[in-house]
């Protein structure tokens, strides 16, 4: 499938050379190689991980897309498939893993839970979507997405990579990207970026409680 899509329009290549020569831009060739050699991290969270294994196995076989091996180490991976429910106890580790991944890196939120909390959203230790902490490139709905849906997600991501430009992608900017601050487990999960908000809301509530008569619940 490769060379045809690589050619930039407007250049006449003699027909006899078309299978050997392609005139293209750096962006295109870079994106083309990037998208055909995504290495996912071996990182399973919940139910969707089983479907992810199913996708890696013989029937669906995502090595056909150049995702030959799954790497358990974030240092050797450039695609994080968040496959399953993200809990508050796990999110510090997920953010840490994301920070450890070398750029360029992509994140797929596989399934309803990873996208927005899923059926467990109302639960008290469930993070309502991994995108609250790390940037997500592609969301795949479904509970769980079937392997074919996951493969469609990969193709969607590849399409996104195709449209990227070396000039605008965050990892080739002059100023290096800041790592995402790692959330802390307190009485509830605490995002260091939100400390001021937490302080403000908690002190407001304290005042409210002091002014109002007793018996008020501290909960919303």
């Amino acid at each position: 499938m490769g060379t045809e899509s690589l050619n930039s329009p407007g250049y006449d290549i003699p027909p006899e050379m078309q299978s050997q020569v392609a005139i293209t831009t750096l962006d295109k060739i870079y994106n083309w190689s990037r998208k055909n050699s995504l290495w996912p991290m071996m990182f399973g969270l919940a139910c969707c991980a089983i479907e992810m294994i199913g996708t890696a196995a013989s029937r669906f076989d995502f090595s056909r897309f150049g995702m030959e091996v799954m790497r358990p180490s974030p240092r050797q991976a450039d695609l994080m498939i968040v496959s399953g429910t993200v809990t508050k106890k796990m999110i510090p580790q997920i953010v840490r893993l994301y920070n450890q991944m070398p750029e360029p890196r992509y994140v797929i939120a596989m399934g309803a839970c990873a996208s927005g909390g899923g059926p467990f959203k109302e639960g008290y230790t469930v993070v309502a979507g991994v995108d609250k902490f790390i940037p997500v490139d592609v969301y795949i709905p479904g509970c769980p997405p079937t392997p074919q849906a996951l493969l469609h997600g990969f193709i969607t991501l590849m399409k996104k990579i195709e449209t990227q430009s070396l000039r605008s992608v965050p990892w080739y900017q002059k100023t290096p990207g800041e790592p995402i601050p790692i959330p802390i487990l307190g009485p509830d999960l605490m995002d260091p970026r939100k400390f001021d908000l937490i302080k403000q809301v908690c002190s407001q509530r304290e005042e409210q409680r002091n002014t109002e008569p007793e018996g008020e619940s501290t909960h919303e």
Binding site: G54, A57, P72, R205, T218, H219
Partner: protein, 577 residues
Amino acid sequence: MSEQVGVQSSSLTERFPEIILPDSRTGYSGFLVKPENLVVVAQALRDEMGYDYLSSVTGVDYLPENKMEVVYHFYRTIGGGALVLKTQVDRENPVVPSLTPLFPGAEFQEREAWDLLGIRFANHPDLRRILTWEGFHGHPLRKDWKEPFFEEEAKPFKSRWPEGHVYRAEDKNPFHDNLQYPAGFDPEQWSPETDELLYAGLKRVDKSDDLLTEQVVVNLGPQHPSTHGVFRMVVVLDGETVVDLKPIMGYLHRNHEKIGERNTFLQNMPFTDRLDYVCSMSNNFGYALAVEKLMGIQPPERAEYIRVMMAELTRFLNHIFSIGFLLNDLGAFFTPMLYALEERELILDVFEAVSGSRMMCNYFRFGGVARDIPVEVMEKIRKLVFDRLPRKLDEMDYFITNNEIVRGRCEGVGVLTAERAIALSASGPVLRASGVAYDVRRADPYSIYDRFEFDIPVRYNGDIYDRYLLRLEEMRQSLRILRQVLKDIPDGPILSGKPQYQVRVPAGESYGRVEGPKGELGFYVVSNGKPNPWRYHVRAPTFINLTSLAEMCRGQKIADVVTILGSIDIVLGEVDR
């Protein structure tokens, strides 16, 4: 089953006339005992009456009566029904003596009750939070504890219809996220939990007379390719030898029980799929049994056969999957797994055609199953059961069983003796590989398992290799049951009564248990006559099997820990719920 309990009940009340009271609430069974007498009674049960297996420990918050109840389910490993013991304590300061010294299998379950319900267990060796983290605010399963996205006590929520203006739950939260903090909380003053308490609880060997080698603490997980998901083990190592090990779970704690108590009875069915997500059909089975017991209904003949068929296909699927994973853990990376997954895909095709989803089947209903099996799918099942699966099973056997590496790494590793397996409340293949022939399908038959001819495979060495062989043999027995099912399956209705979305469940308690592929899967349901359960507890087999992990690993090499974990065959959805 009820007769046996009757016999036992008289002898128990005779033995302790003063301190044992039968539970007389309508719909309830078992005995009430005061907390101060609990240990004496439990000891007598174990040593005198043969109730050597403490299957389930859980708490119930009876908010209206201002009581906290702890419920114990005892069994005999020779078979028979449960003996249910309950003890009630005050809600404000609930303290119950721990049964862990008598039944070490209670350790994690008591920690869970402490974590989620705030019941203290006196004399517990290591009473820390288990599913949430140290420092978590409150005990979430208490009825007066509300989560940040709390909307209403029970589903269906009123905001959905008829004025269902859509919103995202985080939009209504001051933090725009699933968060809440105690009033006046200052995040900057907070010192986050360190693992000191955890590390302090680890045993170390006395090395004063030895060479000065340091013992190191190694953390495996939660992101580790061998831990089958998000599971963490803290290991103390002396060289390469494991001195002590502690499993840490809760990284996938999805509040199954809290959500389950808000759901209506039927709404819990698809949630049970997500417990042990490899074998959703078995989970459906256990939950359906528990609620049917309360409702007092029986599924029709054909539905019973379909249920058994699905449960046994699930067992096959789970075992072949777990063998593939075990080989992964042994270092045969993914090749044996690929063969296992081929068979799994074929079975999943059947599930998908029957139930609509590959993994989250949601196929069972109270009083039957959701839909009938189409003819062409039946033909496919026949082909699988009579031809393909036995052939592939033999191929797997030929491929793996006598492999030198498999034998070298598995024989004699991770040994659990029969006595310890019983004491630690292990169940399923782990228990049977240790020489205890205990299978709920025979010990306390449910559904129509008493009609089929099958053996309960037992092996006696209790090592990884035996667990592997046992799973292989169980798959053969599953196929044997399936052949009988396919021969005898009658025509007829698949659901007793009309399909209902709001079932009426009388008040009372019930404990439904099935022999899931991973062990005894129990559902403890308390109903107060309302559309949603008052208490909904899952006795997750792999969660309790993990109690014996430390014991199996001590003295082994660090590389074997991974394999031992693989041989227990855990699924984190069920461990953490």
